[in-house]
């Protein structure tokens, strides 16, 4: 088993759950978050501080609310009329569920990688340039440079530099997922959200994406929902374990995987249920 743990944490004593990153500045702070879909209580009183510049994996069995939680971070539930949310969610200190909060600048701070990559109906280069363009960056040269830079960052440049003008839908699914990452990075977010971003990909592409997450975590806060424990073990710095809509345990990867405090966590990690 291989763990990548930032040294500042490993030397610490077993940190107290939830308070782990008080010394860090944190982009995402969740306070008493509750979410209801019609009458079902989906997320139950979630309190969570996501540490910056590291990879946090949200794990848990299917239907435990991992994805729902992730989607609250950039208000993707806005369009669903039967979802009610209470509690507070701070992004950079701003309560994003407060009345009158404008949503586009919050979403701009977060790149989202969906389960299946979804390229926009335009060329490869326009896919990456789309974000900067709608946020007001003009000039072909400038947009080209941004696109080139981000495509390089995700290791796609060499594969596509000769066909930047061809439709993005022609790329393989693994390439599309990297394109989606580049597209997300191009709006200069602080946070990358991944919703089982590798589950639809072949092993090699998903390894590439995992490696990318590890590379970009120096600059971005990465939050991943993952269904595969092994992936979490490979790349997570911090792990949040959810069960039936509750956040059961949160801590460093080392602590959660090797010394879980909660019996449920232990059982889940040992493969007692999935």
């Amino acid at each position: 088993m291989e763990l990548i743990i930032s040294p500042s944490i490993t030397d610490q004593q077993k940190p107290k759950v939830m308070n782990i990153s008080h010394s860090h500045k944190s982009h995402i702070v969740v306070r008493n978050l509750n979410l209801y879909i019609q009458d079902h209580h989906i997320l139950k009183d979630i309190n969570l501080i996501i540490p910056d510049k590291s990879i946090t994996c949200i794990i848990g069995p299917s239907g435990c609310g991992k994805t729902t939680l992730l989607r609250t971070f950039n208000r993707l539930h806005d369009d669903s009329v039967d979802i009610k949310i209470s509690g507070k969610l701070f992004v950079d200190g701003e309560d994003i569920y407060a009345k009158g909060t404008e949503v586009t600048h919050i979403r701009k701070k977060m790149g989202l990688l969906a389960q299946r990559p979804c390229s926009l109906p335009m060329s490869i280069i326009d896919n990456v340039a789309y974000g900067p363009r709608i946020h007001g960056i003009r000039g072909r040269r400038k947009l080209y440079e941004i696109a080139r830079h981000q495509l390089m960052a995700v290791g796609l440049w060499d594969e596509v530099k000769d066909r930047l003008k061809s439709p993005a839908s022609k790329l393989s699914i693994g390439q599309q997922q990297r394109l989606c990452l580049a597209r997300g990075l191009a709006v200069e977010p602080e946070i990358i959200l991944g919703d089982e971003a590798t589950s639809a990909l072949d092993p090699i592409s998903s390894k590439t994406i995992e490696e990318l997450f590890v590379t970009i975590k120096d600059k971005y806060t990465v939050v991943l929902v993952t269904h595969t424990l092994r992936q979490a073990k490979r790349i997570a710095d911090y792990v949040a374990f959810m069960y039936m809509g509750e956040l059961i345990e949160f801590g460093t990867a080392d602590q959660v995987f090797n010394h879980p405090k909660n019996k449920l966590t232990q059982e889940y990690i040992n493969g007692g249920f999935s």
Binding site: N74, H105, K108, A114, R116, L120, Y130, I134, G184, L193
Partner: protein, 267 residues
């Protein structure tokens, strides 16, 4: 299977053969560049430019109006309502029923609307009736494509910080192939339909210069000329049919060309 395919193909080819063999000899530049002059329907001088222009005006405005109604309807059904919405299912059923209503009913309905609005048989009346006829066609064929658009596309666009308006633009790009097919189908249905325009658009020998004037249309030009006892006039009906066929073919090819160009790239 091959038998039925061949049967239907040969029927199509035979129709084309009849139109060509009877229409081509009387198709001349004069035929398509002049409006009827006195005694045209008795086999004298003139052409069917009035009907050609009338049909083109009619279908152009109808398609534009129908698009302005259909695209928002499809957007609402697919992206505002949830996928399993009962109202959306009901609306789709309604459009299917409207799709199947005979065009003469639209003609009659358009006629009552016209009377209600105090209009006479006019280009505007024809546009209203033809729009009613083709809106269900359009909605259903754009809807076929819209149903396939993953909701992730909306989320991907929104998560980049796009506003609703920008998201709609992206969706419309994704819809473009569907829209061009829809335009094609509805032009085909609208331009060749005689029953809707019979009461609503009227018939005249001149080219309309305003929305309140009556207008001639190709299907009616065919109808009136074909019912003439003079053989020369009957042949002209076939050449009018040929013109109509050519217009539809030309529109269909150009629609394909443009949809292929549009779907490539560029914002």
């Amino acid at each position: 299977m091959i038998g039925s395919t061949m049967l239907i193909l040969s029927v199509l080819l035979y129709i084309l053969y009849v139109i060509m063999s009877r229409g081509l000899p009387s198709l001349s530049w004069k035929m398509i560049s002049q409006i009827p002059s006195g005694g045209f329907y008795l086999g004298k001088e003139g052409g069917i430019l009035n009907a050609i222009m009338g049909s083109l005006y009619l279908i152009f405005f109808s398609v534009v109006i129908s698009l302005m109604i259909s695209v928002p309807v499809v957007m609402y059904l697919n992206f505002t309502l949830r996928r399993k919405s009962r109202f959306a299912a009901f609306a789709r059923l309604t459009f299917d029923v409207l799709f199947g209503i005979p065009s003469i009913v639209y003609g009659a309905f358009g006629f009552t609307v016209m009377i209600y609005l105090g209009l006479q048989a006019s280009l505007l009346g024809g546009i209203i009736a033809v729009s009613l006829l083709i809106i269900p066609v359009m909605i259903r064929s754009i809807d076929e494509v819209a149903i396939l658009i993953p909701i992730e596309l909306v989320e991907a666009t929104k998560s980049l910080g796009a506003t609703n308006y920008e998201t709609i633009k992206v969706i419309i790009r994704q819809l473009l192939p569907g829209i061009s097919t829809a335009v094609l189908l509805s032009v085909g249905r609208g331009i060749g339909d005689a029953a809707t325009v019979l009461f609503t658009a009227g018939y005249t020998d001149s080219i309309p210069t305003s929305l309140t004037q009556p207008t001639a249309t190709l299907p009616l030009a065919i109808f009136f000329q074909l019912s003439s006892p003079v053989e020369e006039v009957q042949n002209r009906a076939y050449s009018a049919a040929l013109v109509l066929t050519i217009i539809i073919l030309a529109l269909s090819f150009s629609a394909r060309y443009f949809s292929r160009r549009f779907s490539k790239n560029k914002i």
